[in-house]
Amino acid sequence: MNQENSNSAGTVELRGVSYIYGRGTPFEKKAIDNINLTFEPGCITGLIGHTGSGKSTLVQLLNGLLKPDEGRILVDGVDIWDEPKKQNKLRFKVGLVFQYPEYQLFEETVRRDIAYGPSNMKLSGEEIERRVVESAKFCGLDEELLDKSPFELSGGQRRRAAIAGVIAMEPRVLILDEPTAGLDPMGREDILGGMRSYQRARNSTVIIVSHSMEDMARYSDRIVVMKNGRVEASGGRTEVFSRSDMLIGAGLDVPQITRLWEILKGRGIELPDDVFTVERACEVLLDLLRTDLQTVKGR
């Protein structure tokens, strides 16, 4: 238990990992091609890439749903395929929330659905209850909804319940595959904001697959760009989002604010590089306009 809670726990390393679908058939396709990558605790990594770039295959490899054809995957230094019989332990450590997870709810009440994961971990009733309530809170789910049937909830609420079910296992590594697809702007902010609080509270490793550059600009610390089964780029937000040509070449887009920034710079305005969100752009522009204001007053 102490070991599990230490800050170092939750490092995932991929070493020379490849994965091939339909090997030996006419449809053979190398979905993951020799990837070397490390995910570390204490930050949210945004995983972006065009459809078919290998993002979903990659996340399934990370929690052992798929077995790599080549290379090794290490969680806290241990190869996850060393002892295949202990795979369920790995799943408690590496939690994966699939796309559209709301279709996977099955229990009679939301409370029992969220409790399903922790119940399989041989925890006390009290501990399970604590986890259920806490994870519902992280996901922005009102406590009064816990005793309803999942089918009485709205789509957005069901999505939150499903995410809470994975969080309740308190995984060191939490992976979410497009957690906000199809949600309205407020729903997106609630879920991503909740994941940010969860990551901070537990100092866990969080990986979010997303198609929204704006969301990733706002909520991630690091970005990994996938293209045709390979890692096209990885690094801090500034590093990745300032390479517009690379992003567009990878079938992606740049955040809207980055577009505006490029136009302003192109017209000779001197601006810092690390600006991808409305909040930050606002700060920088206010500074610029205020300094100028003071100069005017000084005259």
Binding site: H50, G155, G156, G182, Q256, I263, L264, C282, L285, D292
Partner: protein, 299 residues
């Protein structure tokens, strides 16, 4: 819709008229739920491109299903192309005939393709309308050409990207020669390049083929190019105006859980901090112009 000649866009003639439309779903035991749509009165003109916004559960998709007669209103009337489709005297044949004129494309590309070969999928609609085979052949070829998917006509839809699948779904609707197409979040599940592919096709169908378009979306940047934006909140029609006038009401949109394009948001935030700027701005260039002027003024 005419597949072969290019009609002129005429936007002054009503195509769909809804008068005091109310709708509620029934629960399992047959009791009506709360009203999903409350007293909606709305006119969509022939050839218009109308974006429909609203948070999850606001009633947008229900509205779409009423237009296609998948659902019938509890009260009020709907007139499509001069025919009152809610009239009890309408025969089943007439209902089917009207459905042909208003096509629908849904969010999930995997849920709306039925055949194992692309061209058979596109032929599914016209086949069900009892169109003679030679005419079906012509329509399928033309529809695939319009969405730029001719070279994939003998492929299996399952091996296409999300954007390509949506284009096939659109071709399937085009082959039924509709006057109007309702798109229910057609880009929600796509990556940025897939989103751009689909949006280009939708704009082309409207601009060059005179198809009336209702586009339901959570993506504010897709809505800015519409002729008109309709906002639905809790089943009521809450805004109906040009994109510029709708998106300049930033506080109102925020209060009902919606976003505005990031450039508009930026100008609004600057305004809250005391930098006076107009907010009726939608494009990067307009926003850059305003900011540069402001910066130069201060010098």
């Amino acid at each position: 819709m005419q597949l072969y000649d290019i009609p002129v866009r005429t936007m002054n003639q009503p195509y769909i008229q809804m008068k005091n439309v109310c709708f509620s779903y029934n629960t399992e035991d047959g009791r009506p739920t709360n009203q999903v749509l409350k007293n909606i009165t709305l006119t969509i003109n022939r050839g218009e491109f109308v974006a429909v916004l609203g948070h999850n559960g606001s009633g947008k998709s229900t509205l779409a299903k009423l237009l296609n007669l998948i659902l019938l209103p509890d009260s009020g009337s709907i007139i499509i192309d001069g025919k009152e489709v809610t009239s009890p005297d309408l025969s089943d044949d007439e209902v089917y005939e009207t459905r042909r004129h208003v096509g629908m494309v849904f969010q999930n590309p995997d849920n709306q393709l039925v055949a194992t070969v692309v061209e058979e999928d596109v032929a599914f609609g016209p086949e069900n309308l009892g169109i003679p085979p030679a005419e079906i052949r012509a329509r399928v070829d033309k529809a695939l050409e319009l969405v730029g998917m001719s070279e994939y006509r003998r492929h299996s839809p399952s091996r296409l990207s999300g954007g390509q699948k949506q284009r096939i779904a659109i071709a399937g609707i085009i082959a039924m020669l509709p006057d109007c197409i309702v798109f229910d979040e057609p880009t929600a599940m796509l990556d940025p390049s897939g989103r751009a592919e689909v949006m280009n096709i939708i704009r082309m169908l409207n601009r060059d083929r005179g198809i009336t378009v209702l586009h339901i979306t959570h993506n504010m940047n897709e809505a800015i190019t519409a002729d008109r934006v309709i906002v639905i909140n809790d089943g009521e029609l809450c805004m109906d105006d040009t994109p510029r006038r709708v998106f300049s009401q930033v506080a109102k949109l925020h209060s009902i859980g919606l976003d505005v394009p990031q450039v508009t948001e930026l100008l609004y935030e600057l305004g809250l901090c005391g930098v006076e700027l107009p907010v009726d701005v939608l494009t990067y260039e307009e926003c850059a112009d305003l900011l540069i002027r402001k910066i130069e003024e201060k010098k």
